[in-house]
């Protein structure tokens, strides 16, 4: 399937239907949540201190919800009005802005303690028109310059993104460095084709300098998946398509799911998808009626 950024600009691609689909997809929810958690971990905020964060490309607030849970105050930016509408419906806590990040951010210097962005940067790398102001390098430069200004000195910014090629990674990182950031790319699960995740970790102020000597910032290590202490469970990959005939049949028989479990599972799924009027669970759920009835 071709990548969404090739199909249309984000504000058009994420129209009303796509925004709803994207948000109610439980697999998307799981992946977004997992990546937000990881981004927060990379952000390495001082523990126990409330912070003001910037969510760049907040969309329908899937990542914002995690920030709410963690007790952070946040401000979200997105270019797709339909996504923001869904976010309003979901009643997230942060302030939302309709904003094209490629036009630069309009915040006072030193406003935010950190920034996260999930699956956004690749959208900045496509030009919609041929005017020089909307070329990808110009848009990236405006964005990184204004972001650098808007962050406090010790703040970090973590971007999860899906680069199309190595050239694109180089382009993005080199522009970020030119705009005053330090840091680099963190790759999680580099050996897995599917679980591989790219995080661009940027430091606005170069870390705490101790005794006048400027310490070089250390880029966090990516997860590689074979460390014994890693307990995190990545979002499961669906095997619907790859499942062969023989194996499938065996698996189905092996996992015994009775009538009631099946009903409960389906009801849970509908609730997750936001369907209304799902009957509540009770001790009568999935029971047969008496024969006299």
């Amino acid at each position: 399937m071709s990548r969404p950024e090739f199909q249309a600009p984000p504000e058009i691609y994420y129209g009303d239907t796509e925004a709803k689909k994207y948000t109610h997809n439980t697999r998307n929810q799981a992946i977004q949540a997992e990546m937000t958690d990881r981004a927060l971990e990379l952000l390495n905020l001082p523990e126990g201190q409330p912070a003001l964060l910037l969510d760049i490309g907040c969309g329908s607030g899937l990542s914002g919800e995690i920030l709410d849970e963690e007790g952070y105050t946040w401000v979200g930016l997105d270019i797709a009005p339909s996504m923001l509408e869904v976010a309003l419906e979901r009643e997230v806590e942060g302030d939302l802005f309709l904003h094209d990040i490629g036009q630069g951010l309009g915040f006072r210097p030193g406003s935010f303690d950190g920034a996260i962005s999930i699956s956004v940067l690749q959208w900045l790398c496509n030009a919609d028109t041929t005017s020089p102001t909307s070329s990808p390098p110009a848009r990236l430069t405006r964005f990184f310059t204004s972001l650098h200004a808007a962050l406090t000195r010790s703040a970090r910014a973590v971007f999860q993104f899906y680069p199309q090629s190595d050239d694109q990674v180089t382009l993005i990182t080199s522009i970020a460095m030119r705009c005053g950031f330090e840091g680099g790319l963190v790759v999680d699960y580099p050996n897995s084709q599917k679980a591989k995740k790219f995080f661009l970790c940027l430091f606005a102020g170069g870390g705490e300098s101790s005794g006048g000597a400027r310490r070089k910032v250390e880029i966090p290590k990516g997860l590689d998946g074979d460390g014994g202490e890693q307990e995190r469970e990545p979002a499961a990959f669906e095997k619907r398509r790859t499942n062969g005939r023989g194996e499938k049949g065996k698996k189905r028989k092996g996992a015994k799911e009775n009538h009631k479990d099946w009903i409960l599972r389906k009801k849970e799924l509908y609730r997750k998808r936001g369907k209304e009027d799902v009957p509540r669970d009770s001790k009568f759920t999935g029971r047969k009626r008496k024969s006299v009835f």
Binding site: L52, L84, D95, G104, R108, F112
Partner: protein
């Protein structure tokens, strides 16, 4: 959903608008009060970032006069003051209206609580 906490951070970012572009002035606003969790730690941490004069003048424009004209010295904030600050920063939401840049008069419309910060092609830096 524009709260004064974000309004206090927001400056006009149109091309050539670099001085006197803060604070954006509210016009024809509809307000809504929504309760938020009181978090004194966060407020204390956020205090140094506030442009106090801008906050007080905007709050008075919106009809809230609970804040003192002078920002108290760090460490001397009373509980009552923090509650007032919390109300002004976190609980007043601007739902409809517009924000106008004092310098270039660019109008940022707010509809449904979401301000439209998009610029036209010729306004991009």
């Amino acid at each position: 959903m524009v709260r004064l906490i974000t309004h206090n951070l927001l400056a006009c970012h149109a091309k050539g608008c670099t001085t006197n572009n803060f604070p954006l002035a509210f016009r024809d606003v509809q307000l809504e009060n929504r309760e938020a969790e009181y978090n004194p730690e966060f407020l204390k941490g956020f205090m140094p970032k506030i442009e106090w004069n801008a906050l007080v003048s905007t709050a008075r424009e919106l009809g809230d006069v609970s804040l003192p004209a002078e920002c108290p010295e760090p460490g001397t904030e009373t509980d009552e003051f923090l509650h007032a600050l919390h109300h002004v920063l976190m609980e007043i939401h601007v739902e409809e209206g517009s924000m106008v840049c004092p310098n270039c008069q660019h109008v940022y419309r707010i509809s449904n609580g979401i301000p439209n910060m998009l610029l036209a092609e010729h306004e991009i830096k």
